[in-house]
Symmetry: C2
Subunit: 251 residues, 2 copies
């Protein structure tokens, strides 16, 4: 299985380093196993220089920017009394590292790889590979990702590699499942490719909860053109909830 622990653990970083604290699912930590909750007590200052890769940069095209602004404007709304409150959508930050240390002096030798980088954030050049930002709508149990595909993601000439598309589907559905169910592992990805995605395109990736059955979370996911008229892929994903303590303290 492929685990989706990263998003969950990385969430703790935002407590100390990001202005987006209240937008992050780490707020749900109280329902997690003790071993995970303990991590939140780790001093977070070492992460303070982490770059949030989900923020706009100079490579983002007009389509990407317009959509970003549209959904960002729905993250905070004004009440009739002029008070600003959380809106239906929340933006999720995105870093290029997984958790390296835990609290209590426990050195997680098995998961420490000082050079390791998150696959989707492993290239520094802006615009060259995966440019994306995720928004979650908790009420509707939907997740939305704006994805602009760079020139280093080529598969067939001029188009995005099927594996790069699968990577984004795993990322979006896995993040969504983690928000819905806590730490999970990918158990199945079933992807139907309908039409190629040209390099440089901006597309929408939308995931929705299908159902939860015991430890299983079923999510559906669709990749479309930004106006929704063209379907690029349709997929389903199955995630299984895990107890992360064995992952943190040796397998």
């Amino acid at each position: 299985m492929s685990t989706h622990l990263g998003r969950f653990l990385r969430g703790f970083r935002s407590l100390g380093s990001s202005p987006l604290v209240r937008t992050h699912p780490s707020a749900r930590v109280s329902s997690r196993p003790a071993s995970v909750r303990a991590i939140a007590t780790f001093p977070l200052s070492i992460f303070s220089k982490s770059r949030d890769y989900s923020l706009p940069n100079s490579s983002w095209g007009p389509e990407m920017m317009q959509l970003y602004e549209h959904y960002t404007s729905q993250c905070e709304v004004e009440t009739a009394a002029g008070e600003k409150v959380g809106g239906p959508w929340k933006r999720l930050p995105s870093y290029n590292r997984s958790l390296k240390y835990a609290t209590g002096g426990v050195y997680l030798s098995k998961i420490i790889q000082s050079k390791a980088r998150l696959f989707t954030r492993n290239i520094r050049e802006v615009g060259a590979a995966f440019e994306y930002v995720l928004f979650v709508n908790e009420k509707e149990q939907r997740c939305l990702c704006l994805f602009q595909a760079g020139h280093l993601l080529e598969g067939p000439p001029g188009n995005v590699h099927g594996g790069a598309i699968a990577t984004m589907i795993d990322t979006v559905t896995g993040t969504h499942a983690t928000i819905l169910s806590g730490p999970v592992m990918t158990a199945n990805l079933n992807i139907n490719y309908r039409s190629p995605i040209p390099l440089g395109s901006t597309v929408l990736i939308e995931s929705a909860l299908e159902k939860k059955e015991g430890r299983k979370t079923f999510v559906t996911c669709k990749v479309t053109s930004t106006n929704g008229s063209k379907v690029h892929t349709e997929s389903t994903a199955l995630f299984v909830s895990i107890n992360v303590s064995h992952l943190l303290l040796g397998q």
Copy 2:
């Protein structure tokens, strides 16, 4: 759909630039549509400096090297009369570019992206990302890939991203389907993740033809530890044969 045209087209380069000419499926060109065959007449010297990424480099660990030598030794065998002939396996070269030009003065503007790089070969640092080499056994209709996963492919802490695994499955099954059926597009990938792959591991990715039905080619694929004892993923892939002329000359 995700097209697997790259391997097919890139094959033509090896005619002029690689010592592995006889090991490459481009020998099957006579059964391809006219538009594809025509590409073979393009002067190949411009590709002569292409690096073949499937050759060993300093990052390959002992396990990767041992397996590479094992399968390479089966690419050429000696007869009783002392003559060297092709063995059961053939190594496939691997480049980081897709075809950029075609013959006859036709400038393929739609597929030219001068900076574009194949997703699995987009990082120059050896050992950092995807290190792999493919072997094909035409008689047994099997394809085998040796894959060493670098530190930039991280998903869950210390382990390979599910999307990076999907990328390799798409690469191996897509290459295999192209050898079996000519130019194809990925129509479906269905992946069951059984156990995580630690960063730095070398694993085997084996694909086998399940069946061919008209334009459809069904391939199965398994990712295991090098001794076969541990199953990491089991998957199926469906490819649909395409006429590539519309891809080359505008869609």
